[in-house]
Symmetry: D3
């Protein structure tokens, strides 16, 4: 049986990709054990690929007042609001692993108000959701609400920029009908047995 398509667009073979992109993909494969489809499907457009992952890394790999789990929470919550299957499933897996919590990704994807998170994280997600779905309404009051939970202005930029970047990412995934790898559905749900 033909496996289901992972994109509406042609998916390049590794061998035909520019060296830097192939290297990046092989490094991810090495680490994850498989190639997440976002890499191989977006590689259809090398220049956009490079900018996409440079942007991703600038937000998700940097030093920040937000933990890596918190950043993934923002991705999962806003991708839930945008009905993006790829991002909910793939980043949900990463969130489960970073947070060492098998439940929080599904909670946050559906309704962050009821998730097992701290009040500070609740405020962080309120801000992120506003950037994701109603950015013209953001005012100084929203920054003040973050500050009341100890977030700096730079933290606010981080929160908003992650929500903004995944506004792009969610739309690209919906545009090309990007399919999540099956591996993601189960990752982080079961404690690893030694």
């Amino acid at each position: 049986m033909t496996p289901p398509a992972i994109s509406r667009y042609p998916v390049p073979a590794l061998a035909e990709l520019p060296e830097d992109i192939r290297a990046r993909i092989l490094a991810v494969q090495e680490k994850a054990g498989f190639i997440p489809n976002v890499f191989i499907t977006l590689a259809h457009r090398p220049a956009e690929f490079r900018a996409f992952f440079a942007y991703h890394d600038a937000l998700m790999e940097k030093e920040s007042g937000l933990s890596k789990a918190e950043r993934e929470m923002i991705v999962v919550a806003t991708s839930g609001a945008n009905d993006c299957l790829y991002c909910i499933v793939a980043h949900g897996a990463i969130l489960r692993i970073y947070a060492k919590n098998p439940l929080v990704a599904d909670q946050v994807a559906v309704n962050h108000r009821k998730a097992d998170i701290t009040p500070r994280q609740r405020a962080m997600l309120d801000f992120a959701m506003k950037v994701a779905v109603d950015s013209p309404s953001i005012t100084d009051l929203d920054f003040a609400a973050l500050a009341a939970h100890g977030f700096s202005a730079e933290d606010a930029w981080d929160i908003g920029a992650i929500a903004a970047f995944f506004a792009l990412s969610n739309r690209m995934a919906n545009l090309i009908a990007m399919r999540p790898n099956e591996e993601f559905f189960l990752m982080g749900r079961v404690p690893r047995v030694k």
Copy 2:
């Protein structure tokens, strides 16, 4: 009188910027006669700046089945849907210049259904607007509607990716309260006198 702030965040001095970013900004200034605020305000975060403009250029400067004016139409129409003042005003100016048409930017920003554009451009903007505001609903029918106007699958990627990139851009501009330069408001409205 203090001029109004152009960002909620500190705006870097050119002298303190990394060399590549300063060079990019000076080149823009050379060409435009002023520094568009999107450059100097986003330079507050150099790594994000580099990715942002690399992404922008990968979409807006490349060879494409869409003319440059058509790409700017997508920016202006989707930024209108997202109530993003900076992008409507700045890209509206660029659209007027590329299209050599002083009216089309305001038309497209408010309601692309009534703009002085071709049926093909109308179909292009219908698709772009769906990516901008309802991407989960995109199906093969939307690609077929584009194809009926002669757009290839790669053109569809271009249209969708521009809408997706400005989903990010609009949210960043609203997040930091980016202010359009005054120069943009008038650009392309008056025929240049020789």
Copy 3:
């Protein structure tokens, strides 16, 4: 080349109009230097024309706690919410002139929360926008919010009635596909040279 239609409906010749309507239109032409399309397109229905402009004048020409520029702000902001190209462009021009400000019309049309206006004007537009898009939710609290900025109950009527009148006007313009005169796009954007 045929100029684009300014209405979906027949546009009457001045000579065939009832005397009072022709006189009104000639007076406007005398003052503005051209006939704004709202006059000549709505003249297709003389009785409605008379009521429309009587209503308009009762609100926009009267003595009021609101300046003429403030009244035009209400028109532009609510027409932005209703995606009415004619009213945004034509009243945007009038607003620029009354306010002696080439930027405020575009600002208010897109997002009044970020416009260069006073807190009092921001409260005025918050109230107007609620009348325009969610009038069943208006309660005494909304009147109290106005009063806190010094608006009287009669001012509140003025604000709400202007928003209500342009709810009609925007729908008529969208119904007949009323096209803004080209003159409006540029008016008030450039300082007049003596």
Copy 4:
């Protein structure tokens, strides 16, 4: 017990009103047996009163391809969409009387798709509802859908203009919290006994 207020604003005494307005109100009272509150509450502003009823009459009293009952259907359906109690109750009463049908007003106010009306009336209300709630989306297709049911372009103007006028009327009633007269609730519900 004090009767409930019929407006947030002062309600003028008949004696203090300008002669033409008092005459109009007395004529209505003569005919209806009571003064509908829309007359006496809007009389707080004589100039607006005159324009409002001139506009109303220009649309609702004229010769038209629409029957008077059909015009009231448009009022009731669009006022339902705008949650305007006064207009639903008062014009619902008038609709029941004109249509000699005690059920149709409640049907149309809640969901015109299920009302006991003809397919032609259903098409008329589809158009009116689009003018009321989504006028920027109106295209030639909407006029064609009307034409398929025998409506002329002038009929389309009538339908759209009534929806537009009650967009104003609904907002004014919600603004001033206009209260329907108790008489309206029962009118046209019971067959008159000779």
Copy 5:
């Protein structure tokens, strides 16, 4: 003339119904003087009929901190939000009778914020409307707002459960195009003459 259908589905004859269902329907007919269509149309599915009315009675007939009129207010207000003609008309009639008030049902169906009800009832309906149209957003603050008006946690369950049950009921009525009996339109509008 054929009377209009009261359901998209076949309507069973009383004689062919299971004994318990026939008995229930006859009892209602005895009391009301006619068979409300909700009974005979839902009897098309006996097992669902039994569960539906058991649920209804568990909420609407029980001892409660809410009066019967208040419970009907919740039905009418939330059915108004769901555009359900059957429930607005039938429960509007019951509300008029329980409340001995010929006006309150129409008021509450259109806009509970302007109805002649107490502040406590206003808070009750605010909560019910949130359950009806935006239940994921309910937080402890909503329960606190009820408590401030003296509602216990069990009262909050009653309010929410009635809103939830009529979310089902409204959808069933819209699904099968359930038609309200003509009797309901007039019930409770005229004082009974002895």
Copy 6:
């Protein structure tokens, strides 16, 4: 550490429940290996509990033109639209088991248009979603679209009634903040090893 609350309301002890309810719960526990929280939290109200599960069984356990997996698809898709964590997680688990498919529940909860389902199932979910979120707009055309895929009128009732019942269920779960059992998150995701 205290385990997180599974309801905003008191959760009864099995021993204090009425015999029939305790028996039902013990039977479920016997089958599932644990007590799903929907049973023990709703048991706070015995009469409502009985009606709720009678309704559930009447729809979900009956003979039907829809398979059990298809019925669970309806639950998961509409609960996704209603942001109901409990129903997405618990019925997602059941769907995975019935469909013997570890991926389909997450797919359907986020966006049924992209799920690995048949065109017939896609039509089924289109209908169910319309009942869930826009039931007043249902017309004969929606029934015709189902019939084109071989669904009978009785199948349409089943689809619509399940969507309607979970409109209730989702609102109750959101009202009481019902927490999904941890067991559900993993059920059906891993092939059982013999």
